[in-house]
Symmetry: C3
Subunit: 330 residues, 3 copies
């Protein structure tokens, strides 16, 4: 049984095929691949793009779709052996197998639990849901990965640059009022590396992405003829970039010290992407997964300017996800 958890679980040729299929679907959006199939979407965190693009995508593939959000049911227990006399009314050991009886595939948005760094670095919460599925599941964002976003991003890069190999992308940290999870930067980094791009990861000291993700990205880049380098020098981050991909995330090293983390984050307010930063690049396009905090992550001038492709990226979510669903259920 297939599942779509981390894009890097697929081979590079499989990812290329998904991108080719997404490009075809973008031109010819209506199919009947999912005729008579029902897809369930389970959100334990808010969503605008993911929810609507999946709902539209499933219907354009001829299927039916139901969306479930946390507020519509009740708290779900994930711990094995729990004596359930607290808030949680149902265990994922029942909830997920039951949904598997109703749906041909189930999408899950189950993000960081915030209990411990170790649990989140193992994607404990998402995987504790996924392991009980008896139909294909797909990841609509977990603590560690956002593979649908990365697939859409790789499609967008290919549309802009015509190719991936040795094209220069800078994934840069940005300020934000909250300590966000690393799912988007992790998946972007892995996907860009797997496609053979030359990736610069730029962030202030202390904001390293998870070591296992960096190591895997380096291995993937090496296989694909690309490269991964890390810097905390913003001038070096900008130089030569054909794509600037901005994203904020919280410091994993201060996971259990939110006040210190916040203080450190606020010391790097000058990491906002502005026209001065963009001017130092190789006429780069600006990418961001959205939602984005204007004039915190990126200045109005950059996101409203002609080099911004954030809405195209978001549109590509739809096409990429339809290709993924065809792969998953085909």
């Amino acid at each position: 049984m297939k599942r779509f958890y981390n894009l890097a679980d697929l081979t590079a040729p499989e990812v290329e095929q998904l991108l080719d299929d997404a490009a075809r679907i973008k031109k010819d959006p209506l199919t009947d691949d999912l005729r008579g199939r029902q897809v369930g979407l389970l959100f334990l965190a808010p969503s605008l793009r993911t929810r609507t693009s999946f709902e539209v995508g499933v219907r354009e593939l001829g299927g039916g779709v139901s969306t479930l959000e946390g507020a519509m049911f009740y708290a779900l227990e994930t711990r094995s052996g729990a004596r359930m006399d607290g808030d949680a009314a149902e265990h994922v050991r029942e909830a997920v197998p039951v949904l598997s009886r109703y749906f041909s595939a189930v999408g899950l948005r189950v993000m960081a639990g915030g209990r411990t760094r170790e649990e989140d670095l193992e994607d404990h919460r998402f995987l504790s849901f996924a392991e009980h599925a008896t139909v294909p599941i797909f990841n609509m964002e977990s603590a560690l990965y956002h593979p649908c976003q990365a697939l859409a991003d790789m499609l967008t890069v290919r549309e802009i640059l015509g190719s991936h190999r040795n094209r220069r992308i800078t994934l840069t940290w940005a300020p934000h009022p909250k300590p966000l999870p690393t799912a988007v930067p992790n998946s972007l980094l892995l996907a860009a590396a797997q496609m053979g791009m030359d990736v610069t990861v730029a962030h202030p000291e202390g904001y390293d992405l998870p070591g296992t993700v960096m190591a895997r990205a380096e291995a993937l880049a090496s296989m694909a003829g690309g490269s991964v380098r890390r810097t905390s020098d913003r001038a070096a981050a900008a130089a030569g970039a054909e794509i600037v991909y901005a994203k904020s995330w919280g410091a994993l090293s201060r996971y259990d010290a939110p006040d210190a983390e916040q203080a450190s984050r606020e010391r790097h307010r000058d990491w906002t992407i502005d026209e001065a930063f963009m001017a130092r690049t190789d006429d780069a396009r600006f990418m961001h997964c959205l939602p984005v905090r204007r004039n915190v992550v990126v200045s109005d001038a950059v996101i409203d300017g002609p080099r911004s492709v954030v809405v195209d990226q978001a549109e590509n979510r739809l096409h990429a996800q339809k290709a993924m669903l065809r792969w998953l259920l085909g």
Copy 2:
């Protein structure tokens, strides 16, 4: 690109055509006008009728529909140039263009922001969403207008009276525990005037509808051979009416003084529509857009009586909106 914002933006013949089409659809509800099209509904305020009638209507036209409600995502920023380090996680400048990529049309319920009277009288909040759409948008109720309701109401009037021109409708203010917006009375007044009805607007002193709306209604009535008059005399309001349309709204003159507004509203509790009031009309039918506060806006005897057509009105929402969608996307 068409949009459906204020029914009075259409010409009278266009409105008549919509009513004709709605009457046809009412008899023959299933079409494939929206085959392969997806419609998004965005609600920033609660809804029972609007949501269900649009969901049913889009599917009966062969399309797909997704509903988004505020609680499902996060606060949206509307101000230009805002530094977004507060609650709002996304700006309408991204959210609305992105939805425009997924959907063939987007409906918006974005009501009064309540910041200032001036902003609401300009429909600032709705228009700050709508201006960023790149597909046709339609108004599911803004601070100023509720054109879907008005279109359904004009269909209902035509069913009851057989015609509009010089038929006598009284739009009367009614008590309510809350200071409601003027969208429904504004749109009813404009539509009735545009259809050439003789409209009496009755309300206590201080509860004038917006001056721009009254002026536009008078101009429309004059073009259509109808009339608009205003009164605060309840006996005059009832006399001769063939339709009594009740609706509460708050005093625009006390927008920034809610306590004074409430006190003034409570002084007019006797404006409830009851059998005594109806007895002074020309055997009028009773209309209301719903939801309605029983025994506050209208007595049980009137709304449960044989002259009440409130459920027919609500049914006509479905048919009128389907006609509107065919016009918008045809």
Copy 3:
């Protein structure tokens, strides 16, 4: 006009036909019985299984479906003659007739109001909604009945045992942190009695099911050649059982004394279904309607063991409900 409120309102042959139809649909799930029909689902309480299984089921029958939840609209008044100047913005006297204009059938989950025992024992709240419907309504769980669950349960029993008549089922009370309603045990008891099963109802002293339900179950059992007996002896409850159906409920006798009810409930913590209990049965299968509190209602060992059929039961909701909708709208 048909309605589906209490499974016992149908004759035993009608229920058998529904079960036959559900078994057929389980093998051949896609039909066009509801082509061009729209079904509304109104939930005033949370739901996972009911909502998703109905959404999937309606679409698999070729129809369209809309789900409404309390948080999406506003409080609804149910009392006749109320002066509505409080929280409730709309009366069921308008809301339900309006929904009847949009939908071919409306499902309602309207559970106990909690105002008084008498109201809940008369299913006042559900019936105050249902009486205003002008299209067929179906019960997705009321204060008194959960007929969709009972129908799915009878299908599951038939799949396991091959027949119902004089097969031995024990419906046993179980501990729980909250005083749950009796809808599920009431409907299970009535359905098992109507199918001619030999039913043992086991609960601690003071946890009697409603007297009218017990009396009706006895009458049904007598007609069908089965039996109903009551015990508070757990050894007697287990002995000979081919099915153990566990469910918690609150003490009706202490409806207005929640602290005393809770204290009494906690005295019976040893009613958890565990392997020792199951070992005293006739190799019984374990059933529960879900959601279930693990290690409170039932031990992990039992629910994870080979005799547990709780997920099959939940799957059968889908098939049983589709049969019910065909019956209701056929």
